[in-house]
């Protein structure tokens, strides 16, 4: 891969050394570094990287499995921040796309934005910020995660991201020489010039960090902040801190994202149901007729106690317009189907509360 090009910028052809995402299923997306000598193994079969190289991104790679001669395939995708997010293991605490996209929009993120993010965490939101904004200053307090993210951002070619190892709640956001940071200092500058106009705080105690923001946000612009907290009590303390520090237009919102599957439900008409019951009735009527005869016999003839013979089971119905008993594949062309939507069996009913606020530090006039 051309090391100057980010694997996240648009590329068309799968090349040796590329970071690619292998789509096995929606819940199973795996990153690979394309290497002609490697195989990508799934329980459905093995796919050689060689078969990917030179093909366009998005290509389906298909094989016949040796044993059963079955058709099996994967898709090789170019990473985007959203696909990257989907590829992260679910146990990781990540900001999901419905939240991150709303936060970015509400803070009006664009190439003219300078954004602060604390903490970096899994780095998934950092990728979405990096795609869009002018510069991202990301802070991570945990040293192992800091090192991991540092490497990842480098591998992923995100030159507009500055990562700093820092507990912002106690030590603030200012980046000085000799701090553990990826910031490239100019000449003899003692500290970084940040001037952020958008801030995202994903911290357990954002109220500790809020008072420290004034040092690093742009002075003469309207600056937005979003605090991301799971508990309502955190929101309360956050609002308190924001008010105290002169932030205005404070508003907390929740995002609720749902995914819908498209399914089909069999159209089962009343007429078919009745016809099926008629079939049952016809079979039964034989039985009833026989029973009636038996009953008459019973009343007339003391000898015949028909306990055993008088209640013959009618044969099971053969007519079934709904194919019950056999498993009908959804969409089977022998049946009529109605298109329906179905929500995921388990939804993310809560991610966090998002508290937004805005501030202009210096309202003086320029002319």
């Amino acid at each position: 891969m051309d090391s100057s090009v980010s694997p996240f910028s648009y590329r068309d052809i799968i090349q040796e050394g590329d970071l690619a995402l292998v789509w096995i299923s929606r819940d199973n997306i795996k990153p690979i570094i394309v290497d002609a000598n490697h195989m990508f193994n799934t329980r459905y079969g093995s796919f050689s990287h060689k078969s990917m190289i030179g093909k366009p991104y998005g290509s389906q790679i298909a094989i016949r499995t040796k044993g059963q001669n079955r058709f099996s395939f994967i898709h090789v995708m170019q990473p985007s921040p959203e696909l990257w997010t989907l590829s992260l293991p679910h146990r990781t605490q990540i900001v999901y796309t419905p939240d991150s996209s709303y936060i970015m929009q509400r803070l009006n993120c664009n190439p003219c934005s300078t954004v602060i993010e604390a903490g970096t965490g899994s780095g998934s939101f950092s990728h979405a910020f990096a795609r869009t904004v002018g510069h991202l200053y990301s802070y991570e307090f945990h040293s192992v995660r800091y090192e991991q993210a540092l490497k990842e951002f480098k591998d992923h070619g995100l030159p507009n991201v500055t990562l700093t190892h820092r507990d912002v709640c106690s030590d603030g956001f200012t980046i000085k020489r000799n701090d553990p940071t990826s910031y490239l200092f100019q000449d003899d500058a003692a500290q970084a010039t940040i001037n952020a106009n958008a801030v995202f705080l994903d911290l357990p105690a954002p109220w500790d960090a809020v008072p420290l923001l004034d040092q690093v946000i742009a002075r003469d612009q309207k600056v937005g902040v979003c605090c991301f907290s799971p508990c309502i009590e955190q929101v309360d303390k956050t609002i308190e801190a924001l008010e105290k520090c002169g932030w205005t237009e404070i508003q907390m919102v929740e995002i609720q994202g749902k995914q819908w599957e498209s399914r089909r439900q069999m159209v089962r008409t009343l007429d078919d149901a009745l016809e099926r019951l008629r079939d049952v009735r016809r079979r039964k009527e034989e039985g009833i007729e026989r029973r009636k005869q038996m009953y008459d016999a019973v009343l007339k003839d003391d000898e015949a106690d028909g306990e055993k013979s008088e209640r013959p089971q009618p044969p099971k119905t053969k007519f079934n317009p709904f194919g019950k008993g056999t498993r009908v594949r959804e969409g089977d062309v022998n049946y009529q189907w109605k298109q329906v939507t179905k929500v995921e069996p388990e939804i993310k009913s809560h991610t966090s509360f998002l508290t937004f606020a805005f501030k202009i530090m210096d309202k003086s006039r320029i002319c």
Binding site: F73, D220, G257, K363
Partner: protein, 454 residues
Amino acid sequence: MDYLHHITADQHVILKLPSGNWKIVELKPHTSVSLGKFGAFQVDDIIGYPLGTQFEIYYENQSQPNDDDPKNKNRTPVGKVRIMDEDVGGSTEGSELSNVNSSANNMNLINIGNEIQAMTSEQIEELKRQSISGEEIVAKMIESHSAFHKKTLQSQEKYLNRKKRKFAKYFTVEYLSASFLLQWLLEKGDTQKVLDMSEETVAMLLNVANIRSEGQYLCMDETGGLLVYFMLERMFGGDNNSSHTGKIVVLHENEHANLDLLKYSNYSEKFINDHVKTVSLLDFFEPPNESEIDSYFKPIPKEEARQLKAGKKNAYQRRLKWYYNQHEIVQLSTKSQYDALIIASTLQLSTLVPLLAEKVHGSRPVVCYSQFKEILLELTHTLYTDLRFLAPSISETRVRPYQSVRGKLHPLMTMRGGGGYLMWAHRVIPAPEPPAHETEDEGNGPEEKKQKTQ
């Protein structure tokens, strides 16, 4: 790029009024802007302050002009402005309100209305005539409002907000972001015009469509240009001098694309011409033939053209423009591959998307907006059976705003119902069937393209 952060002459900005309503104005220097009952101000007085600044309009005692001129009777007098120190446009401040912490004031819950307001309307009018701010009027009214402290918290709040809206004379000058433009349209009742689209849904669209400053996007926009404005803002941030090369190709089903809302943007005409191209669906699917174009018109050497007389020159220039435009259509419709397909259209998506997606690069997103989930349901069923689409799915995103006042936190009691849905899929490139004897063997990949059985 001062115009991105500071109030600039000839700029379109959006004003937030005490009523919660919005107003878009073009800041023509040396003119005044009237906000009706909230007063009027001089444009020149606000130029140079940061965008987002909240101003109060005030009147000095003698400054009620033209009071005698019957012509101006209904004209709002133009006041002076001063910067407000504290935001009052947001939610009610908690400080003035006593907390609900006992049931002691239950008894006074009802019958709190106008009848217990001790000030006469004449007194209020008098106050208004004096150089007194809305805030102060409200404070005086509370003072004289005997039953105020007997009200429940909620009714206290409502009362304050109602009064504030009635008397306050302030406004906030905001950058006309795409989100504010949408909010303005929704408040005007133009919900159907923007296909009931919500900020959160279009925000989701921008992210899942992987919008980047350097992308080439194929787009249908039936929201009058709102979607295109969202994309432009995301790609260029309002910067007319952006060096980014991104382009939006807007397909339209009428004679001309309707991107009317871009008139409120602060992008220059040149900028829009460079980054937004419009092509009719017919031209896109049945583009002009290059040799036919050339048969209609061939540019003459520049030297020659320069020597044409004025009348002829104009006609020539128009023909030249037409010529380049036709060639551009050929380029955009037959020679370009796109980085995303983004559709917000009421045309039947299940017939449209499979055709348009042919022009999208592999691994790039296809995102469709619809006001109705059922439309996207039909679409996904079509795409499921088309191997060029990976995992089409329907998403719904809703924001739930809270009354964000400490001690009185709760989700807003009512909110807008709609907001629309998105279909998100990726364009992929099907592999040829791998060789095998049993070609009738059913596909059985890890990701089943075919409808799964329940």
